[in-house]
């Protein structure tokens, strides 16, 4: 090698016109598509996991003797998955050919709609899950009679003057109603907490990108 590395470097760049900077455009295109694809993948996995869980729980519930819980779980989670699958189909309609900003904005709107619908569903879902647990255990077979009736019988031995409504202690009904009201009231918040646990990082990234693009546009 006769020429020095330094001279090859210097002369090479003098001869070539390679130092023209590439145009800065579509900076966020790949990133925004990537982040939304990641969300879609996570969302699909989540739905599949819910289906798998509800099926397994349905089978287990028959073996454990609480089929009412299993069936109610299965039905309510199936409705949840069905609604969310419909929402996911709406996500596919977002135009990938749009600018990154438009694409992210559409996605953001979709997310807001999805969260709003799921918050409403959660206000019913958590109480239904609680009721299904109560019913399941109430009607669980306990040596020839429902567990609930058996429990009431035992309570009556200790507290014979307890007030009953349709054969159920009033205090029990009040406690159950109180829990139902709490679950209905906090259902939306529980859902949001759950949502942040699973998708928090994706949402944070999305928010950062939106802020960045907005300042880039200014």
């Amino acid at each position: 090698m006769e020429r020095s590395i330094e001279s090859i470097w210097k002369e090479g760049f003098l001869k070539s016109d390679a130092l023209v900077a590439p145009k800065i455009n579509n900076l966020y295109n790949q990133k925004s598509i990537h982040i939304i694809d990641k969300f879609k993948r996570m969302f699909k996995i989540n739905l599949i996991a819910i289906i798998a869980f509800s099926c397994i729980f349905l089978i287990v519930s028959f073996f454990v003797g609480i089929p009412i819980t299993g069936i109610m779980f299965f039905v309510s989670l199936s409705v949840l998955v069905f609604i969310n699958k419909q929402l996911l189909n709406g996500l596919d309609k977002i135009d990938k050919g749009a600018s990154s900003y438009q694409y992210l904005k559409s996605f953001n709107e979709w997310i807001k709609k999805q969260i709003a619908i799921n918050i409403k569903i959660s206000r019913f879902l958590y109480p239904i899950i609680f009721i299904s647990m109560v019913f399941g255990f109430w009607f669980k077979d306990a040596e020839g009679m429902p567990l609930g009736e058996r429990l009431v019988g035992e309570i009556l031995v200790g507290f014979p003057d307890i007030y009953l409504v349709f054969g159920i202690p009033l205090i029990g009904i009040v406690i159950a109603l109180f829990i139902l009201v709490l679950l209905a009231y906090f259902g939306g918040r529980i859902y949001k907490w759950d949502l942040n646990l699973v998708y928090g990082r994706v949402f944070k990234k999305l928010e950062e990108m939106m802020t960045d693009i907005e300042s880039l546009r200014n």
Partner: protein, 163 residues
């Protein structure tokens, strides 16, 4: 990013950014992605610029860090990708320079380790040992010896290929 910021704070250093990005990529597409990402990161981190540094040092440092990060990400994504196996044939035609010797030198540089690539690029850009050390974050005393070793390695790779 305003075009004023780009024109005033990035464009004057685009030469070294381009050269660095080329040293860490092996296709035009990757090169453009790296360049855009570097520019974006410079813009994003402009508020963190510390007055005790020179703006150019800051720019070089960010460029280098972005290139290394992207390279690591790529390696993690494609486990079977081995940078040492890059050959001249694998380089896309439109990515090559008009000067054949420069192409060979770039290919040789791409065979070096990530940090050696950075050191030789900055050396070839006539940065002082102190500045190179400042950008990379090492001791300036070691830079001279390291440059010598890298140059010897490059000469070995290029031996017989360039007249």
């Amino acid at each position: 990013m305003s075009s004023d910021f780009y024109k005033a704070s990035i464009l004057p250093f685009s030469g070294i950014i381009i050269k660095l990005c080329r040293a860490y990529t092996n296709s035009q597409q990757d090169f453009e992605d790296y360049y855009q990402e570097v520019c974006l990161q410079i813009w994003r981190s402009k508020d963190n610029f510390r007055e005790e540094l020179q703006w150019s040092t800051w720019v070089y440092r960010i460029s280098l860090n972005v290139c290394l990060t992207l390279l690591k990400k790529k390696k993690n994504n494609v486990q079977y990708f081995v940078s040492d196996s890059i050959t001249v044939e694998e380089t896309e035609d439109n990515y090559a320079f008009s000067d054949e010797s420069l192409n060979l030198l770039y290919d040789a540089i791409r065979k070096l380790s990530e940090i050696d690539r950075a050191i030789i690029m900055l050396y070839l850009e006539e940065k002082s040992q102190k500045e190179i050390a400042e950008i990379i974050g090492t001791n300036p005393n070691n830079i001279g010896v390291r440059v010598k070793r890298i140059k010897n390695r490059l000469k070995k790779i290029l031996d017989g290929k360039i007249n």
